[in-house]
């Protein structure tokens, strides 16, 4: 699961196409406009490579960090059916990370370098995972609505121009659609269950609504720099477009279950557009830059796992175990 790639607004490098061979660049852009896929050994502008690495890497990190809040509930899942399903779901997410790191490696950055950038805080991951899953119901809301958001984002990006990423996303989306069903089934069970269960799921939804609204990234009004990425089919839909799609698909389903959302201004207007209270983008920036409730904990856990596993990786570190072939 994954929201939208976060681009540091202070990073000016996106504007730099300087130094690229204009003819090669023109041919490259022609190929993309014809709908052709770019493959690892093809020529590509340095900025295209850089933005894709950043995006795929953030996506991969989100999958492994996302396994932490949900993973906590594997050992607590109520009953065999839920326990087995949640284990399989979180395992899928880790599998997605594996696919994605391998897609990013085709662009020239090793998995080790990416993980290193994650644990030193240099790379980002989806902001939602900096919030805690307090109860079982939080894990259910994540599985339904965060995965729903991820599907919207990933179905769009699967049509992007970089072949290995698109193919990985096709596989990932198939699995995510099962996660969505799993999450929905859980939320329906709680929302139609006992009083304790209904209270639990409402509280979780209320807690998760602001992070869900943040999920697709800052509003188009304040998010620049997407034009060239969209021309290169690195980014396939704007943040606001995806947010609208999400609201349109899921708000009615949430209301149907008798649950309420903590935004009095949320409604669909006559033009068919959803209106809502503008999410707190200052909070979003604060959290993505390390100030969220779980940033430190998530990275500490990841760092501990890396450190504890170092001896295993060193023991495996032989030439034949290195690869750069995409898994999808």
């Amino acid at each position: 699961m994954y929201g939208n790639a976060y681009i540091d607004p202070n990073d000016k490098s996106h504007a730099i196409i300087a130094g690229e061979d204009p003819q090669k660049l023109a041919e490259f852009e022609d190929r993309i406009s014809r709908g052709e896929k770019v493959e690892p050994k093809d020529w590509m502008p340095a900025e295209y490579r850089k933005q894709l690495i950043r995006m795929i890497e953030q996506h991969a990190h989100s999958e492994i960090i996302g396994a932490l809040p949900e993973g906590t509930w594997i050992t607590r899942a109520p009953g065999f059916r839920r326990k087995l399903a949640l284990m399989a779901k979180v395992q899928d997410e880790v599998g997605h990370a594996q696919l994605l790191y391998s897609a990013a490696e085709t662009l020239g950055k090793s998995r080790e370098a990416m993980i290193n950038d994650l644990i030193t805080g240099k790379s980002k991951y989806s902001n939602v995972f900096n919030y805690p899953a307090y109860t079982w119901a939080d894990a259910c809301i994540i599985a339904w609505l965060i995965d729903a958001g991820a599907i919207i984002n990933q179905v769009a990006n699967a049509k992007g121009s970089y072949g290995p990423y698109g193919r990985a996303l096709d596989r990932i989306c198939t699995e995510e659609s099962f996660h969505l069903k799993y999450g929905h089934d859980n939320v329906v069970t709680l929302a139609t269950g006992t009083l304790k269960q209904r209270e639990m799921v409402q509280a979780a939804l209320t807690r998760w609504w602001p992070p869900i609204m943040h999920f697709f990234g800052p509003s188009d009004k304040i998010s620049n720099h997407t034009e060239i990425l969209m021309r290169w089919k690195v980014k396939m839909a704007t943040n606001d477009d995806m947010r609208q799609q999400f609201l349109n698909m899921y708000v009615p389903k949430i209301w149907d279950l008798g649950l309420t959302l903590p935004d009095k201004n949320l409604k669909k207007n006559a033009a068919g557009t959803w209106e809502y209270t503008e999410p707190d983008w200052e909070e979003f920036k604060r959290v993505i830059n390390g100030g969220g409730p779980c940033n430190a904990e998530r990275l500490a856990v990841r760092r501990m796992a890396e450190e504890r596993g170092r001896w295993v990786r060193e023991a495996l570190n032989t030439a034949e175990s290195k690869y750069i072939i995409p898994l999808a």
Partner: protein, 254 residues
Amino acid sequence: MNENTIAAIKELLYKMADDLLIIGHRNSEWTGLGPILEEDISFSSMAQDKIGQAQTLYNLLHELGEQEPDTIAFMRNANLFHNAQFVELPNNDYDFSLMRHFLYDHADQLRFEMLAHCRYEPLAKVARKVKGELKYHVFHGNIWVVKLGSANEMSHNKMQAALNLAWNYALGMFEEGPFEELLKSEAIFEGEKSLQEKWLANITPILLKAGLSIPEPKTWKPVLGGRKCEHTAHLAPLVEEMSEVFRYDPTANW
């Protein structure tokens, strides 16, 4: 079947199912924390198999008049579990988890192979299916134990220390129950002694290949008690955690 035979089968099923549930739970604790992603995925995969197998065995118990699988697994207190103490020990580092998985899965695979010919057909049927799944668990354990046992000095030392730590607990898996003779004479199960001998014969060449030494037989002291529901301090918190949500509202459908 007479009452004694049924009691004997139940005792056998309880210890096997509880072993599987608890080691499956421990394996699942690696989710998100493995030394490499591929191992995260492997341990999760094995955990799913184990917990699924536990559920299947609890179903057999249910057919013999015990409660529903969810009730047996999620509503019993730790002092009613029949698992070997070996499986309830915390994961520690990957070295111990891997060594435990290797030692446990070899025993489990043999147990299910033996039970594939069991005269109690519902169990024989399950055993024939499960042994196919366990083949891959054993395969996984073998590859990793050999690799890490012999990769470099540090990994070798860690794996040897893990083997030393695990050994007496592993022997506790073969703690005999009150129905050994009956199970044998009824052609249900050949018995723990026979299982332990076969296990030793299977693991010895692999440990040798890994460059690891089995502790001297004169130091062997099986850690017993698990089969009689005596446990270390580690089991109660595990069971509490496992059943936390289920018990939050026992009247609910989850």
